[in-house]
């Protein structure tokens, strides 16, 4: 816990750099493409359409939660946060390696490199949500105050993402295989998370796997609050929060223990 407070103080001291790095990330990425930022919307939209076709029309996966919710929205609500998680993690994993020329030359808190990639992905995520909002208006999905739950849910997701990102970024600097391992892991993980299917379809003897998977709890919580207008399952929610916090503490302490050797290992 103490390490987290210290790191936060360090990052605040270097906030100008964090800001510059984040805007570099955002500005540079789409500068050369014609559609520019439109890609962040187009990408999940295309993904959603094809997946809806495959899983709803062909495999006929039910949405359960409420009969009148179209599968495409049901999928999208979970897919967007999952994409945020997966994209953050995979780009954070390469963030130290791609800035190796900086790491060997100038001192600054290295966690800024990881943080700035994650923040840039959050900006993408916010843009991608425009489509979701649009969709929800068209289909007139009712919302209520329980929607505010998405704030703590999002917060937990970011704690979890940051913890894992710090770990993978530092580990990838030593063994570059980590990035390939991660993309395989993310692919499998996606199927073990109720994104394309509703959580209630999971047989009860396997429920434990989903309770211990913070992403499953998070994704399910988004659905319950946005589409169902209900509240998340408190027990699972608290377990997910504690697990995420542990992951962050472990991730950060691993990162800090390796940090001094980053320049040696590149």
């Amino acid at each position: 816990m103490l390490a987290i407070v210290k790191e936060i103080k360090d990052v605040i001291k270097w906030r100008e750099l964090l800001w510059q790095m984040t805007s570099r990330e955002i500005k540079a990425r789409y500068k050369q493409s014609i559609l520019g930022y439109f890609w962040v919307i187009l990408n999940p939209l295309a993904q959603m359409l094809v997946m809806s076709f495959a899983f709803s029309l062909i495999l006929r996966i039910p949405t359960n939660a409420a009969g009148n919710i179209p599968y495409s929205i049901f999928l999208f609500v979970a897919l967007l946060p999952w994409n945020l998680f997966a994209n953050s993690l995979s780009s954070a994993c390469g963030s130290l390696v791609s800035s190796s020329s900086l790491i060997t030359k100038v001192y600054f808190p290295r966690s800024i490199l990881v943080l700035s990639t994650i923040i840039a992905k959050i900006v993408d995520f916010l843009f991608a949500n425009i489509v979701l909002i649009f969709y929800m208006v068209i289909y007139q999905i009712p919302i209520n105050f329980n929607l505010l739950w998405i704030i703590p849910i999002f917060f937990i997701q970011q704690i979890f993402t940051l913890g894992l990102s710090l770990f993978f970024a530092a580990a990838n600097l030593i063994y570059r295989d980590i990035q390939y391992l991660l993309s395989l892991g993310l692919l499998l993980w996606m199927y073990l998370t109720p994104i394309i299917y509703p959580a209630d379809l999971v047989p009860s003897q396997y429920k434990i796997i989903f309770q211990l998977n913070p992403m499953a709890v998070i994704v399910n919580a988004y659905r319950q609050t946005i589409l169902g207008g209900g509240v998340p399952n408190y027990t699972s929610f608290i377990i997910a929060f504690l697990l995420s916090l542990i992951v962050l503490i472990l991730g950060l302490s691993y990162f800090k223990s390796r940090e001094k050797l980053f320049a040696d290992n590149i």
Partner: protein, 246 residues
């Protein structure tokens, strides 16, 4: 008041180079019981102190640990044993342009690099005109730096680094690039720092002429140790004698 700005106390730097960078190489090596780490000593029990306002040259053959010393001062690396203490704002001029992003414009890169060197936005706002003027590339400043020539790149990077108002300036071989006019300009600026007396410069170069004319004290490194520390011309003499004897 203590005027020591850089202090190395019994500093040893060992690199444990991983011989295998991927699992494919690592796992068989582990099974066969081969060594997975190779040790390499870059600096061996080195101690020295640098006072405020000094202009220090570090000379020695390739691989003698010159750049490692700069990296230890910059705080980028940590010593294996011993301690390195520094006081004041450090501006590394080590391989200029490390923080440049090719897709961003010159102006955007000034802000980015300034932040990397620890500047606040308002400090950069205050200095940006000076930086652009010094670099002499005003007409290209709003273009992406990927269109710059390497000379222009270097001008911009040098301009940023010297406008950080450094207290410790680390210079590594940078003046090898750029045209003669700009080189002269850089040296003039560094002479100003030297005269200012509150700036400490650590200068690593293979150009012994530059070192002799510019530095007030020279550290000669070889075989990972300090073989001489003091008068520039004497240091160079010993270094040259060592090279000839080989």
């Amino acid at each position: 008041m203590n005027d020591t700005v850089i202090k190395f106390k019994n500093v040893t730097k060992k690199f444990s180079l991983l011989s295998q960078k991927t699992f494919k190489e690592f796992i068989p090596a582990l099974i066969k019981g081969e060594e997975t780490k190779k040790g390499f000593t870059a600096l061996d029990d080195i101690s020295f102190e640098i006072q405020k306002g000094e202009t220090i040259g570090i000379i020695g053959p390739n691989g003698s640990g010159k750049s490692t010393i700069l990296k230890l001062i910059a705080g980028v690396m940590s010593p294996t044993t011993g301690t390195v203490t520094t006081q004041g704002k450090i501006s590394p001029l080590i391989e200029l342009g490390a923080g440049m992003h090719p897709e961003l414009t010159g102006r955007e890169n000034i802000y980015l690099n300034g932040a990397i060197l620890g500047l606040k936005r308002k400090d950069i706002d205050k200095n940006i005109e000076n930086i652009i003027d010094f670099s002499e590339i005003r007409e290209f400043i709003n273009q992406p730096v990927k269109h710059y020539s390497s000379g222009m790149y270097m001008r911009l990077a040098f301009s940023i680094a010297i406008h950080v108002e450094p207290e410790i300036l680390l210079v590594d071989e940078i003046l090898a690039v750029g045209d003669t006019d700009f080189q002269a300009k850089c040296f003039k600026k560094m002479e100003e720092f030297k005269a200012a007396e509150n700036v400490t410069t650590v200068f690593v170069s293979h150009s012994l002429g530059q070192v002799e004319s510019f530095c007030t004290r020279v550290i000669y490194l070889n075989h990972h140790q300090i073989l001489f520390d003091g008068d520039p011309s004497k240091a160079i003499q010993i270094y040259l004698a060592d090279t000839e004897n080989k």
